[in-house]
């Protein structure tokens, strides 16, 4: 996993609540057995006029010009600004893979759905929670600025605006550690293999039917 320390990037505003993972990456693309290549079909139904299929040349498809990802000023964006309950619905990690493959490193929203939130950390995509008021304020700032960039400092747990305003955010110590160091958590867990085996031995005595 790519390390996340400090990131500065263009903010893309997606002004909708309850954005679900079906919208982030529609089902037809879930047939892939790979983790890569989902970027061109991120937000597919909102981005293109006609439904796409896996394997087609997405650069030739007709665009919904108004959709944020298609607007010139947001090209190269790497920070997504969203509304409450972002990533609800299906557990598909393809949603996170699509966001990272497109180039997003961070999302800022007032709240996230649990499974999506979890999946993000496993892929170096930092989901930041800021209050609704602050998110609202950033939406307004973007509307009145040509190229609006934010800086994210994970070590300090800060979001820094172009005018130098600083918003702090919370993150679990363990998740922060993994993100900063780009750690694979399977390797970390396997350090405790003896604890897992000891648990199994004890549990087999209490509830043997769980191991049949």
């Amino acid at each position: 996993m790519e390390k996340f320390t400090v990131h500065k990037g263009i903010v893309v505003p997606l002004d909708r609540a309850n954005v679900d993972t079906d919208a982030i990456i529609p089902k037809q693309y879930l047939k892939s057995v790979k983790k890569s290549g989902f970027g061109p079909t991120l937000f597919d139904d909102w981005r293109y006029k006609v439904a796409g299929e896996p394997g087609m040349d997405h650069s030739k498809r007709e665009l919904h010009k108004d959709f944020v990802l298609n607007q010139a000023r947001y090209q190269g964006g790497s920070i997504l600004l969203a509304r409450e309950n972002f990533g609800c619905g299906s557990s598909r990690e393809h949603a996170v893979w699509a966001l990272t493959d497109y180039g997003f490193r961070t999302i800022i929203a007032p709240s996230y759905a649990d499974i999506f939130f979890n999946n993000s950390f496993k892929n170096g995509l930092l989901p930041i929670v800021l209050s609704e008021q602050i998110v609202d304020a950033i939406f307004s700032e973007i509307a009145s600025t040509d190229t609006y960039e934010l800086t994210i400092d994970l070590e300090k747990q800060e979001v820094i605006t172009p005018t130098g305003e600083v918003f702090s955010f919370e993150i679990d110590a363990f998740r922060k550690h993994c993100m900063l160091n780009g750690l694979d958590d399977i390797g970390l867990t396997l350090q405790y293999a003896d604890d897992i085996r000891a648990y199994e031995e004890k549990r087999k005595q209490e509830a043997p039917w769980l191991f049949a």
């Binding site: 909708r16 679900d20 079906d22 037809q28 047939k31 139904d45 709240s111 679990d172 867990t189 769980l210």
Partner: protein, 476 residues
């Protein structure tokens, strides 16, 4: 000892180790696997040279991509027309072979939707932790299990370590008090709950469903309720163990037998919240006030009783919500003030991990019996949740009732719940669906989904529009 909730008990029994910040390694007893969210996990194991920690904890089945028409089944993956989907199912088969995982292949009568076959086989037991790379894993909480969906990275993590890295969720109790009216089903109860707490109301919580109306449900009804906990934002929904739970499990292929069964049943008696257990949040609903429900928008929380009219965005003071309602009405092609029972539908889908079990099919068949699908309905389909459900329904002659009424009787799979296979809506088509998500494009790009119970879906097929099934009961 402090009083514990059911969730507290399940959590405590599975903690392998806990860090100071509350992050824990949680042991997983049952891992269900399907073709869509597992290939990258198996590939990850291969690339890292890792093996499965405990292969016999895994049960695999292809369900999302499989065709549901008879002519496409019976010859393994050869019947899958879509080459990309075919590769995915074949990849699952190969992975299960390579890693020695038990899999029900496409032609096995035990094949079906992963959340239908787990319980059907007795592979889901009370007191278990159950995970699957699928958000509707909450279904299995109906057995007093801690069950939730995970992403593919976590699928790989469980495969390699038998554990998940977790932080404990908060406890929510949803009590549905009193008895429901005739014609009101488990689906209506859970839709009413989602309408009450909202689609993010359960975020960060494990929900325990309780109260007389929940206890009165069969285990299948309880599965329907827990299945949709995720649509209220809660990864896990659960219901305490009682005699209904134990009677359902007894004698199923994966269930314990003999002395082990007796010991298990004794242990399962404790899988209830203690009387004085404290919940972080308690929500109460009056069962008698719940009517048959119909969703009208593009989020499961956009739901109303059949007697209601479509809401007006102008009545909503919160700007984000008002915009949400406006966008939903435009997508759904509906007008504020329209009566829900006046909405015509084009297609009807009875199936999915929410509502494809034998009782669901019986409920729908009761409405269909002796009737004909209305002329404006382009397609009405019944997709049983498993080969065994299909077989049981055919033994009872339910397939004939549907076919005589003009429904299509299909082979098991996820089908038009998420339209990964050929079963889907065309742009603008409106569907009465017993599935779980009415998101934009969920059942096909531009498709318009209304979530309802199996009986309400069957009634919509017969009448061509939504209709209050309680009035049908009175006429009969």
């Amino acid at each position: 000892m402090a009083a514990k909730t059911l969730y507290d008990k399940l959590w405590d029994a599975h903690v392998v180790r806990e860090e100071e910040d509350g992050t824990a390694l949680l042991y997983i007893d049952r891992h269900l696997v399907h073709e869509v969210t597992s290939p990258q996990a198996f590939e990850g194991l291969r690339l890292a040279g890792r093996s499965l920690w405990r292969a016999n904890s895994i049960l695999a089945v292809p369900d999302h991509n499989v065709p549901t028409t008879k002519q496409h089944r019976g010859n393994g993956t050869a019947g899958i027309d879509d080459p990309v989907a075919k590769v995915q199912v074949e990849t699952l088969n190969k992975n299960c072979e390579d890693f020695n995982v038990k899999e029900f292949l496409m032609d096995d009568i035990r094949q079906g939707i992963v959340h239908v076959i787990g319980p059907e086989q007795g592979a889901t037991l009370p007191g278990m932790t159950v995970v699957c790379g699928d958000s509707h894993t909450s279904t299995h909480g109906a057995f007093g299990a801690l069950a939730h969906g995970i992403g593919t990275s976590e699928v790989e993590h469980v495969m390699a370590t038998q554990c998940l890295i977790q932080s404990k969720m908060k406890n929510m109790l949803i009590s549905v008090d009193g008895k429901v009216q005739a014609g009101v089903t488990a689906k209506d109860i859970v839709l009413a709950i989602i309408g009450e707490i909202g689609t993010a109301g359960g975020t960060g919580y494990a929900i325990e469903f309780a109260g007389e109306a929940i206890r009165d449900l069969s285990i299948e009804g309880r599965m329907t309720v827990c299945n949709m906990a995720i649509e209220a934002g809660a990864r896990a929904g659960m219901i305490a163990v009682d005699q209904t739970t134990i009677d359902y499990i007894k004698g199923r292929p994966f269930a314990p037998t003999g002395e082990t069964w007796d010991k298990a049943v004794e242990a399962w008696q404790d899988l209830v919240s203690d009387d004085d257990a404290e919940f972080d949040l308690v929500v109460r609903l009056d069962a008698a006030k719940i009517e048959p429900q119909v969703t009208w928008g593009t989020s499961p929380e956009m739901v109303l009783p059949i007697s209601a009219t479509i809401p007006n965005p102008a009545d909503e003071t919160d700007a984000v919500k008002s915009n949400g309602i406006q966008a939903a009405l435009e997508y759904m092609g509906l007008k504020a003030g329209e009566a829900i029972d006046n909405i015509n539908v084009d297609k009807v889908f009875i199936g999915s991990c929410t509502n494809s079990r034998i009782e669901d099919i019986r409920e729908a068949a009761k409405i269909a019996q002796g009737n004909k699908v209305a002329k404006n309905i382009k397609l009405a389909m019944v997709v049983p949740g498993s080969g065994l459900v299909k077989h049981q329904a055919e033994e009872e002659g339910l397939d004939k009732i549907f076919i005589d009424a003009g429904f299509e009787w299909r082979e098991p799979g996820c089908s038009m719940c998420l339209a990964m296979n050929a079963d889907r809506l065309e742009p603008g088509e409106r569907c009465a669906s017993t599935s779980n998500r009415n998101f934009e494009g969920r059942q096909g790009q531009g498709g318009r989904t209304h979530l309802v119970s199996p009986a309400m879906a069957a009634a919509a097929a017969i009448h061509g529009h939504f209709i209050d099934i309680r009035t049908l009961a009175k006429e009969a």
